[in-house]
Amino acid sequence: MTEKTDKSDIIVCRCEDVSLQEIEDLIDQGITDPEELKRFLRIGMGPCQGRTCGKLVTRIIAQKTGRPVNEIKSTTKRPPLVSIRMNELFEDDNE
C-alpha cells in the first residue's frame, strides 16, 4: 500500500463491497462494536459470511481504538456452515 492509496479504494469486504474508508468513518462516529459495524455496513453478510473480512475488521477496530484484539468479540456465527442450494436440501431427504 502506497501512502497515496485512497482508503475508499481499499475493499475490506468483497461480497458486500465495503471499503476501509466506510469502516473507519463509522468507527470515528463511535460505532466500534463489530456486531453493529456488521449490520450498519453489511460487512460479512455476503456469500463468504465474513471469512476474510471478519479478522480484518477486528484488526481495524483494534488499530483505530487502541483496544487489544482479544477484547474485541467476533460476530455471531450462524448456520449453515457453507451456503447450500435449496434443492440440495431436498436431495438429502431422498438419499
Partner: protein, 376 residues
C-alpha cells in the same frame, strides 16, 4: 457527567431508537440503554416487511403513517434505508380465506388504503415465477413494502446522537427507581444511576422482566420464530408472498436481491431462545420452492431466530402505566419493525403533548384484551 435526563429509554431496537429519535427531535435530552448491541433483539431478526393490510381502522391508519415515515427516511437521515414499495400479496388457497381478505379489504379501503382482491391469473401476471396451483386469488397492496431494519435503526440512533442524546450499549438496566408511585430513574449493571421522570420500557421480548423492576405487570410473552436469507440474485420484484396454509410461510425478495423469509411454527415455542434448527432450514426451503420453484437453484447463506413479542390479542401494548412516568411500548406481536416508526412518533407526541392522533384504544396499556387481529 450529568446523570439527569428528560427521558430514559430501555431497549435499542426499532421502538427504543424510534422513541429516542422522535423525543430528541422535540428537544428532549434522552438516554437510551441497550443491554446488548443496537438491533440485537427482535428488530434485527425480522424479515424486513412493511405492510398496511390489517383488519381494524386504527391499525391500518397506524401502518399507513409508518409507510409515510419510511418513505421520508432517506431525506431525513441523508442516506437510503432501502425502502421499496414492493407490495404484499396475501394468497388465498381456500374460499374461506378469500372472503376474509375481501371483508378486510372493505375496511382497509374505508380508511383510504389502495388494496384489491386479484384472481389467481392476475397473481401470476404480477409474479410470473409464482406457482398458482390450487390458488383462488390474493389480497394485493402495492404500496406495502420493505426496508432494511439495520439502516433504519442506524438512522434513528445517529439522529439521537445528533440531537445531543446519549446511547449506552452493552449496558443493562438492573433496577428501576420508583417513589410515591412515580418513576425516578434506573440503575445499571455498571453501577451507575440515571435519573428521569420519564422512563420508557422498549425492551421487546424482555419487557415483562423490565416491567417487574418497576412493579408493573406487562402482559407479553416472547415466542421463537426462525428465519433464513439466501444469496442475492437479480432483483425480480417478487413481493412479500404470504401463504396462510398450515404449511405456508412468508418471504420477499430484498431490493438487494436476497430472499428472506420465515414461517409461523405449528406449535408455539415460548421463550427468548434464538436457537435455529436444521428442520426449519429444510422445511422452509421446501415451502419457498413450492410457491416459487425457481428458487431451487438459489443458495441459503444464513439462518437465525428471533422473538415475536406477543400480547393476548396480537395488538401492541403502548402507553403510560400505573406508575406515573413509566411508559411501555412493546408487544408488537411480530409487527414491530413495520409499525415502530408510527407508534413511537405517536408515543413521543403523547409524552410531550398528552394526545394521540386518533382513537388508539386497541393498542393502549390497561385495555381489556379482546378480539384478535385476523391478518396475523
Amino acid at each position: 457527567m450529568n446523570n439527569t435526563f428528560d427521558a430514559i429509554i430501555i431497549g435499542g431496537g426499532i421502538v427504543g431508537t424510534g422513541a429516542g429519535y422522535y423525543l430528541s427531535k422535540k428537544g428532549l435530552n434522552v438516554l437510551l440503554i441497550e443491554k446488548n448491541y443496537l438491533t440485537s433483539g427482535s428488530t434485527g431478526r425480522c424479515i424486513t416487511g412493511i405492510r398496511q393490510q390489517f383488519s381494524t381502522p386504527p391499525s391500518i391508519k397506524t401502518a399507513m403513517e409508518s409507510v409515510r415515515l419510511f418513505k421520508n427516511m432517506e431525506d431525513e437521515f441523508g442516506f437510503s434505508v432501502e425502502w421499496k414499495d414492493s407490495g404484499y400479496l396475501f394468497l388465498a388457497h381456500t374460499e374461506e380465506l378469500a372472503s376474509m381478505f375481501k371483508k378486510n379489504i372493505e375496511i382497509q379501503r374505508s380508511v383510504g388504503l389502495d388494496v384489491e382482491f386479484i384472481s389467481a391469473e392476475e397473481c401470476k401476471k404480477r409474479v410470473p415465477l409464482l406457482d398458482t396451483e390450487a390458488l383462488i386469488g390474493g389480497a394485493w397492496c402495492e404500496s406495502d413494502g420493505q426496508a432494511d431494519p439495520f439502516f433504519v435503526v442506524k438512522g434513528f440512533s445517529s439522529g439521537i446522537v445528533k440531537n445531543h442524546g446519549t446511547i449506552k450499549t452493552r449496558t443493562q438496566v438492573v433496577d428501576i427507581i420508583v417513589e410515591d408511585n412515580k418513576v425516578k430513574g434506573v440503575k445499571t449493571d455498571s453501577g451507575d444511576t440515571y435519573y428521569s421522570r420519564v422512563v420508557i420500557n422498549a425492551a421487546g421480548p424482555w419487557a415483562k422482566e423490565v416491567g417487574k423492576m418497576a412493579g408493573v405487570k406487562i402482559d407479553v410473552e416472547p415466542e421463537r420464530h426462525e428465519a433464513l436469507i439466501t444469496e442475492g440474485v437479480e432483483y425480480m420484484g417478487i413481493p412479500m408472498l404470504v401463504d396462510y396454509r398450515p404449511d405456508g410461510g412468508y418471504f420477499v425478495q430484498r431490493v438487494t436481491g436476497q430472499f428472506i423469509g420465515c414461517f409461523t411454527p405449528e406449535k408455539q415455542i415460548p421463550g427468548t431462545s434464538t436457537d435455529s434448527t436444521l428442520e426449519f432450514l429444510k422445511e422452509m426451503s421446501r415451502r419457498m420452492c413450492r410457491l416459487v420453484p425457481a428458487l431451487e437453484n438459489v443458495s441459503i447463506l444464513r439462518q437465525w431466530a428471533g422473538s415475536y413479542c406477543m400480547t393476548p390479542d396480537g395488538n401492541p401494548l403502548v402507553g403510560e402505566t400505573e406508575v406515573s412516568g413509566f411508559y411501555v411500548c412493546t408487544g408488537m406481536s411480530g409487527h414491530g419493525f413495520m409499525l415502530g416508526p408510527a407508534i413511537t412518533s405517536f408515543l413521543s407526541n403523547y409524552i410531550t403533548e398528552g394526545t394521540w392522533p386518533f382513537d388508539l384504544d386497541e393498542i393502549l396499556y390497561g385495555r381489556t384484551f379482546g378480539q384478535k387481529e385476523s391478518m396475523k
